[in-house]
Symmetry: C2
């Protein structure tokens, strides 16, 4: 094992045992001190980020990578605000639930406790450093972070501010540790460091997730890959269709909850598809159409025939696959076969169809008449998020404080033995 990782791991284990029982007030003080330190260090952090952006441009990173990497004054202010909002959230640790008395007099309950040490492997977005630090700290976990080399300067500046903030209120600076080495072999070591890390969260593209799944012996939270669908039903309100489709596709196309595939009922496609295409043309969205959609939109600028992979692609850019279906069942079947179970929506005024969609589509977030862009810890009222899980164990969808905890059973007796 890499010496750096072993060193960080030992410190994390030690700090985790102390964080586990830390007072909520102290944790909240640390979070507010972190927000403050980030604001105080704004100039340094943005300078560090500029270096990363410059290096990224020189290395030929594409625009959507650069957009994810970029910090601005307003993004930094919103990062600090998110940290304060985490401080304002209730502490999940210590919560007692599922309590009951058994007939033999034993009193059993579950108590929420931190997971321990969280390892996070992520790529370009430096805000992840702060989001995760804040959520781990509030939930009583130690964190070991391994950011991407393209954000190395930004992450170092942000992690420095986090450690300084912790120290200001007497929390060990090792509560959140950033791995300095950019050696890729270290990632593999990290995935098998069972002695030091209890949960691994990979945040990045499909390559990273597959690598983590194939190499980890520590439990991994997979997620963040969203091939997201909107199905426009025969009973859709046309007034809702255009804003939802536009918002889901265009508002921030580089993230996982952005729309990738539009399914539309054949009875309304002739009327609505041209309007949708015109609307999306404002943002120059390219449409990759199945044969029936193509027949309706032929001649429209930015329209082309869909290739075989287009209905299984997370575009992360202004591209949308379009397919005409003949009924709700066909739409649900399409989603069953192609969705990554992230976020899928129906637009309809038909009550039974809405209920059937909600029952039968088994994604982390299932929507009726709303944009898929809401699948987000902040938007769901969780304060921030460490990841959006698309796996089925432990947590699904946005993961925040509670999802960084586990529980223990507490059994209070008076001498009971098993018969």
């Amino acid at each position: 094992m890499f010496a750096e990782l072993e060193e960080l791991g030992k410190q994390a284990r030690q700090v985790a045992r102390m964080l586990r029982t830390l007072d909520t007030n102290v944790k909240d003080d640390a979070l507010r001190a972190i927000a403050e330190t980030i604001e105080e260090n704004e100039f340094d952090i943005l300078s560090a980020n500029s270096e990363d952006i410059e290096a990224g441009r020189a290395a030929g990173l594409d625009e959507h990578m650069l957009e994810r990497l970029l910090l601005t004054e307003s993004r930094l202010a919103s990062i600090a605000a998110d940290v304060r909002s985490v401080a304002a959230l209730p502490d999940p640790v210590g919560e007692s639930f599922d309590a009951r008395a058994l007939s033999n007099g034993l009193r059993i309950s579950k108590r929420r406790v931190p997971i321990g040490v969280i390892g996070v492997i992520y790529e370009s977005r430096p805000n992840v450093t702060v989001d995760i630090a804040a959520l781990c700290l509030k939930s009583g976990n130690a964190a070991i972070l391994r950011g991407g080399k393209e954000a190395a300067n930004s992450n170092r500046a942000l992690a420095g501010a986090i450690s300084t903030g912790c120290e200001k209120v007497g929390v060990p600076r090792e509560a959140v540790q950033l791995i300095a080495s950019q050696d890729r072999a270290l990632v593999k070591d990290m995935l098998t460091a069972n002695a030091y890390i209890d949960m691994i969260i990979p945040r990045g593209g499909p390559g990273l997730h597959t690598f983590a799944l194939e190499n980890a012996t520590i439990p991994v939270i997979t997620g963040g890959i969203g091939v997201c669908h909107v199905y426009v039903d025969a009973g859709a309100d046309a007034q809702k269709v255009l804003p939802i489709v536009y918002n889901a596709k265009v508002q921030r196309p580089t993230v996982c909850n952005a729309l990738d595939v539009l399914l539309i009922h054949s009875s309304v496609a002739g009327d609505l598809l041209p309007k949708i295409a015109d609307d999306l043309a404002r943002a120059e969205v390219a449409l990759r159409c199945d044969s029936r959609a193509l027949a309706i939109l032929r001649g429209h600028p930015l329209v082309s025939a869909a290739g075989p992979a287009d209905f299984d692609t997370e575009f992360l850019s202004l591209v949308l696959a379009v397919r005409v279906v003949d009924d709700l069942g066909e739409a649900i079947d399409h989603i069953y076969r192609h969705s990554t179970q992230h976020s899928d929506a129906i637009i309809t005024e038909d009550y039974s169809n809405a209920m059937r969609f909600v029952d039968e589509v088994d994604s982390a977030a299932v929507y009726v008449n709303a944009s898929t862009r809401f699948t987000d810890g902040g938007q769901f009222g969780l304060g921030a998020e460490v990841a959006i899980s698309t796996q089925r164990l432990h947590a699904r969808g946005p993961m925040a404080l509670r999802e960084l905890t586990t529980y223990k059973w507490i059994v209070l007796g008076d001498g009971q033995v098993r018969a």
Copy 2:
């Protein structure tokens, strides 16, 4: 991939989509039909089990393996009763929770849904076949079971009864499928069959768990390894000590929640250890003692010096490691270093010590004044169990119906888009 596994996997996926929305009544009817079929087939099942026992004896299985493998009339009756008690439990599927309205008018909630297809790899105990089938069925999951070769006949007979029971009420017999092949290479294939299996539960010794962790790309629930402690505090009630220690060690020594390590406060060790040793001598429990316990018990039959591994061993037999400690902190530290975080207990009448033990010992089940043998789905009122998790993700301790589910977020809107 093994053709048999691929075939079973495809069928399981198909059935899982149907089980997901199956009425509770139908699932309960299936469970009652399974219990009935097991009772009707008692003679065949016990005959099949006798063949396994005979073959096991010929192959030189040790007594505790044979004890785990054995089915008797009363064990079979209790297996059938457990299935009926699962039928009587509330169905976790469909439960709505964490519902709230956001300020933008979106109504969000979580709905409990089945995980999908559960793969279980287990060793000698044939009752696992039925426990898991019942819990998976009730929670709307399909199951693919891979039992040990030493229980092959028993498992075949039980799985046959399960499929017959399902068919009696129109549930597809493929809801629960037993893998016929005993090729060990198939297990590796099963651990990476992500297309067909959503969660793997290994039930067996440390070797199986390590193998699953190292080879699986599917999320694995690890557990069942219990190095369990009882700490006898200075403030212990001597009337409770003997029954609890005896019960925890002797009542069923071959299972994971049985006691392995006794820690005892130095101020009461001189008085209580000889009494405990005498009491345990009724069951011929061998004591492996640290130097201070040895000094107290020297000359006592069945007492010897502990070796270096004895405080990290799950004995699964009538052996108990014993250590004298000077205070509660030393006991908690010992448990922190040596426990597998399964089940650990304190015996004390001191309120503050009880609370501190409960706060600081971070095991799946933490006990005050009760036997560790209660860590069990049935005993905790869950009806039965698929496993006892000692990992920190998804579920800890006994896993039953709710732990075989996940949730989806449901978001009901009226045209909302993200600002």
